[in-house]
């Protein structure tokens, strides 16, 4: 394995990506909203606890399984609201960050390079197909994890700081969130990469790859709905299993994506 060549591909792709507003804007704005703005807003939620609509959260909690409700038994009403939002309801949303960053960058690195007609020059380099693929995958994976883990850190600091008046202690991250960040987030990023590799082989533009690859966000939406309705309540055990499922899906997508990733296939289809 020519690691120097792999590093060169990653460095080149990331330099190129950082020059594109179409790629850079979603990578900045989405994590900013999900991991900075939302926890701040959620931390102030207890102040609106008596407003119409606040009852929705209480009602939601009452729909949850008894065991889940027990987790809040020792908390005040304000602490319950903060914990429910910041620890549980926002957990699936956190997964959108690695998924989106990996998908956007991979779409640019695979289909975008085809669209700009710069891929051919890369194909003529003395690298193997596997090295090319690995370089392209890491181009998406490395920034996805950097943003996801950096965002996790920011979320932790913001959540604890903003909710300090209510919680009066450092309550975040919980064990579940550590697993979410270290085990599930990389798996979700890998799912995004695998889907984009598969899609990029069949399309010729960044937009097509990004839009079609965007369907992988559906499982996250399902998790969000499941969490909100109490059908699928996040817990340490569930998150561990969820990570395993995402890794299995990612392995399958990457396996099939890698099978179609050869110079000859790429040039035959272009």
């Amino acid at each position: 394995m020519n690691l120097r060549a792999v590093r060169a591909i990653v460095r080149k792709d990331l330099t190129v990506v950082l020059q594109s507003k179409a790629v850079l804007l979603p990578i900045i704005i989405v994590p900013l909203v999900l991991l900075l703005v939302l926890p701040i807003v959620a931390s102030f939620a207890p102040q609106f606890v008596n407003l119409p609509g606040a009852g929705d959260l209480r009602g939601m909690l009452e729909q949850m399984p008894e065991a889940f409700q027990q987790r809040f038994a020792h908390l005040t009403e304000a602490q319950t609201i903060v914990t429910l939002l910041l620890v549980y309801l926002f957990a699936p949303m956190y997964l959108i960050v690695p998924l989106m960053v990996a998908s956007v960058i991979a779409a640019d690195a695979f289909a975008g390079e085809k669209e700009r007609r710069t891929l051919e020059a890369l194909l003529f380099t003395p690298t193997t197909d596997r090295e090319l693929l690995l370089g392209k995958l890491l181009s998406g994976f490395v920034p996805a994890m950097a943003v996801a883990w950096g965002g996790f850190l920011i979320y932790a600091v913001v959540a604890n700081a903003a909710a300090w008046p209510t919680m009066g202690r450092i309550f975040f991250p919980t064990a579940m969130w550590w697993v979410l960040a270290l085990w599930v987030a990389p798996a979700v990023a890998a799912v995004g990469l695998g889907a984009t590799v598969l899609v990029s082989a069949r399309v010729n533009t960044f937009q097509e790859a990004y839009q079609i690859g965007g369907v992988v966000v559906l499982p996250i939406v399902v998790l969000l709905l499941g969490q909100a309705t109490g059908v699928l309540v996040f817990s340490l055990g569930l998150v561990v299993v969820l990570g395993a499922v995402f890794w299995a899906v990612a392995a399958a997508l990457l396996f099939f994506g890698a099978r179609g990733f050869s110079r000859s296939e790429i040039l035959s289809r272009s």
Partner: protein, 338 residues
């Protein structure tokens, strides 16, 4: 012939297309010697680019064989590409990178020794007159600068064999001349060059040998001058004449048997004689003699009837329309045959 760097035998590549398959390269037999500059000529879709891709091991052949430096490009693609430089038809340079950053990335990809990368990149930037623009984004480069950058990239690892696909497409004459000079210099260094081009004059000036492709097949090959002499013999005739009122010299020649492509040259007057200049392609000397007789009979004053030296363009157009045998027909022409 010196040691061949490229040898192909019945090399064929088909692509799936609506309603069946298309043969982009059809039973190609090609040999390129070390230190030789070979031009691949042909229309768009003649198979030039596909041939380059097959020889660089980025496309697998449907059938037949290829050897580059004695290696199979399909099985030993990495080894072949480490000794080959390719400048693609479109410059394929990253608009969002600076010229220097792009070259540095490709130096790493081509395995230029780490300690040499900076010096090699600087050397090529200077050599291709890009030093001043080295830190600017390539998106701000002119077409000529991008083409030069692509050429510099192809030379980063000091390749023994270069594939230059339309290296002067879209360049102004000064930039095209610079590229031509560079190809001559490469030949002077003993490198082999395969030059895919539409530019027949350039091919004639630069190539030791040309191979004319049509529908993926070789329809002619040889040294440009020899091909021109063989295929273009007795063709182009230049007539300087002054015609009386109502007589159209070009029209008269066109009507004659054995004349074609007759045109009145723009500008008209020649050497202060107030005479027009007409060129055309005559089948043979008899056709020229008959034309002289007809024009004299029509009271045309003839100042000159000259046979111009044929060039590759004559060869190319002589071959144009000569379709190779279709599938199932006679065996395709091989290099060295027409």
């Amino acid at each position: 012939m010196a040691t061949p760097v490229i040898v192909t035998r019945a090399l064929t590549r088909e692509f799936a297309a609506a309603g069946g398959k298309v043969r982009a390269v059809d039973a190609l037999d090609l040999t390129v010697a070390r230190g030789e500059v070979v031009g691949l000529l042909g229309h768009n879709g003649a198979g030039k680019t596909t041939t380059v891709r097959l020889l660089a091991g980025v496309l697998t052949p449907t059938s037949g064989s290829a050897r580059v430096f004695g290696l199979d490009p399909t099985a030993d693609g990495v080894a072949v590409r480490s000794r080959v430089g390719v400048s693609t038809e479109t410059p394929a340079v990253d608009d969002r990178l600076s010229g220097r950053a792009g070259l540095t990335a490709y130096a790493d990809l081509h395995g230029v020794p780490v300690a040499r990368v900076r010096a090699r990149v600087d050397e090529l930037l200077a050599s291709f007159d890009l030093a001043e623009a080295a830190d600017r984004k390539v998106g701000s480069y002119s077409r000529g600068m991008r083409q030069r950058l692509a050429l510099a990239r192809a030379l980063l690892h000091d390749p023994e064999l270069l594939f230059l696909d339309e290296p002067t497409a879209g360049l102004d004459p000064v930039a095209a001349r610079a590229v031509a000079d560079r190809v001559r210099a490469l030949r002077g260094e003993g490198r082999s060059v395969v030059l895919c081009t539409h530019d027949l004059a350039q091919a004639q000036a630069l190539c030791d040998r040309v191979v004319v492709l049509e529908h993926g097949r070789v329809v002619a090959s040889g040294a440009p001058a020899a091909l021109a002499a063989e295929l273009g013999a007795g063709m182009r005739v230049r007539v300087v004449a002054s015609a009386p009122e109502g007589v159209d010299v070009a029209a008269r020649l066109t009507e004659l048997d054995g004349w074609s492509a007759v045109v009145t040259e723009p500008g008209g007057a020649d050497g202060g004689l107030a005479a027009g200049v007409v060129t055309g392609i005559a089948r043979d000397a008899e056709a020229v003699a008959e034309a002289v007789a007809v024009l004299v009979g029509a009271a045309v004053r003839l100042y000159a009837v000259e046979r111009e030296l044929p060039d590759l363009e004559d060869v190319y157009f002589a071959l144009h329309g000569r379709r190779p045998a279709v599938a199932g027909g006679p065996a395709p022409a091989q290099e060295g045959q027409r």
